[in-house]
Symmetry: C2
Subunit: 297 residues, 2 copies
């Protein structure tokens, strides 16, 4: 569907301008990312944080945006979350605030963005050698998912891809081997989830697993190993067994393959952008773009 993150940035710049609410706006890097997004026509920034500090930073980087003044982390989180839930097509972005404080507000039962779904991280890998974007989940949030949580992770990923315009994404549950090995729960759980899909318990996508990374991505590799699967060679979304394997895979896109990785948190009523200082400018812009396209759906 999308070949590169630039395609997604382009799509975002053509879409509806939902609010991007920055929680903890005393954050020079976050503001710069929002400025870059604005310059591309992506998102309508709304800043929540200390208005004095924020104004000074805005002046420094020659940018302007509406500020909601809030002085402590809890208030910042609450105001930001409320601003997102009261606005259509909005998304939330983490600024200078603890992730735990922000997510607690997201999950607030009265005024939060709670949906009853698990929150999970979806990474998006743009690698020069590949003909399409590859999504990976969960390498950033759920440490050691059980079977039900893996299904939730899969559904959140499919929701994201559908909101980006993928009609029926291909999902591979990947493991070190593509055979079902009773001594590797990573493979047995993949088999169970593939069967859940076959029985209609998971809809809107095509699922198979266990598959290896090689045969999930490459039809040649699948052919060499004699693997018959509608997903083999076509995977859009890779569901990984746990956080470390997904994290390495995502980082390998940057540190081995000279690509770019973007990402966001799904499962709440609005997408949540959590960028890190170590992310490149391109990565931050792409994360905001993905959230904006997804929120405008």
């Amino acid at each position: 569907m999308y070949r590169t993150l630039d395609d997604l940035v382009k799509k975002a710049s053509e879409g509806k301008m939902g609010k991007v609410v920055l929680a903890g706006s005393e954050d020079r890097e976050g503001l710069l990312a929002l400025k870059h997004a604005s310059e591309k026509g992506i998102g309508d920034p709304l800043l929540v944080g200390d208005s004095n500090v924020t104004s000074r930073l805005l002046e420094e980087i020659s940018f302007d945006a509406e500020i909601i003044d809030a002085r402590n982390e809890q208030t910042v989180a609450e105001e930001a979350v409320k601003a997102v839930s009261s606005s259509s097509h909005a998304c939330l972005m983490k600024g200078r605030i603890k992730t735990s404080v922000l997510l607690k507000a997201v999950l607030n039962k009265e005024w939060g963005l709670r949906t009853g779904r698990l929150l999970s991280h979806v990474a998006c890998l743009d690698v020069p050698g590949l003909d399409r974007l590859i999504f990976v989940s969960d390498g950033g949030m759920v440490v050691r998912p059980d079977l039900s949580q893996k299904v939730e992770i899969l559904k959140n990923g499919v929701d994201l891809l559908q909101s980006l315009g993928y009609e029926r994404p291909f999902v591979a549950l990947i493991a070190a081997v593509e055979t079902v090995n009773p001594d590797m729960p990573e493979t047995t759980e993949a088999a169970m989830i593939a069967k859940m899909h076959a029985r209609g318990q998971i809809r809107g996508c095509t699922v198979d697993g266990p598959l290896g990374l090689d045969n999930a991505l490459s039809t040649v590799a699948a052919k060499t190993k004699g693997i018959e699967s509608p997903v083999a060679g076509h995977a859009d979304l890779l569901v990984v067994p746990e956080i470390h394997s997904g994290n390495f895979l995502g980082k390998s896109a940057v540190y081995l393959a000279e690509g770019v990785i973007a990402g966001l948190v799904m499962g709440a009523a609005a997408p949540i952008v959590i960028v890190s200082r170590a992310d490149s400018e391109r990565s931050k812009l792409a994360s905001i773009a993905i959230a904006a396209v997804s929120a405008s759906h």
Copy 2:
């Protein structure tokens, strides 16, 4: 030390010509790999298997080598292992034989290649964007290592690197995060192993962990995150938490980064080459070269 696998192939072609013993020589692809190695001046092939079938295959591919006739898998494994142990600087290579049968012979107490050490897989990644080879263990053999097994995996990897000429390899125990998180045994065990190294329980290398893939490989990433570590940015060997994460990392070198991966099994009295049908010619040649250099040490 080595920039690419080609450097290792070159080094192998200049070294001593130890025997490369192919167990199960009715294996056209294995014979072709040995032929290519021979053409580069790497290894003195010794074939163990059905001599009729093997001779026919040799004729087909225009290659010649000594054959030890053996007709069933157990005998093939035994003869091959004995040929390796009775010869200096030899290594073993898996041909058309079940891995389990071959490894059982390797571990035989009377005539095997047993050392008391754990057998573990070490992958070697050659990625265009990196300035050096990166070794990863264990993404191919030990499924879910405990603390002691991780130490053995680390030691086997260091043994390999030292045999290739690395005086004091840099070892990173990698995880999704570089902080010690009590809820992630991957990080606590990395911390324990790093301290074992600090106390002199692990020698001949420089060890640190937990480190992220980013800060293990990139000094810039380490600096951004404020990580002070002698290993950060310089890792030669990445010790991964378990098989899936290591497997994805290895495969990402090929399927994301357009690189080459080679590998072998360490921990026995001689290196063991286990190539798979899906490996490229370059990969097979490099695996034989690594084993040959290591065995000639």
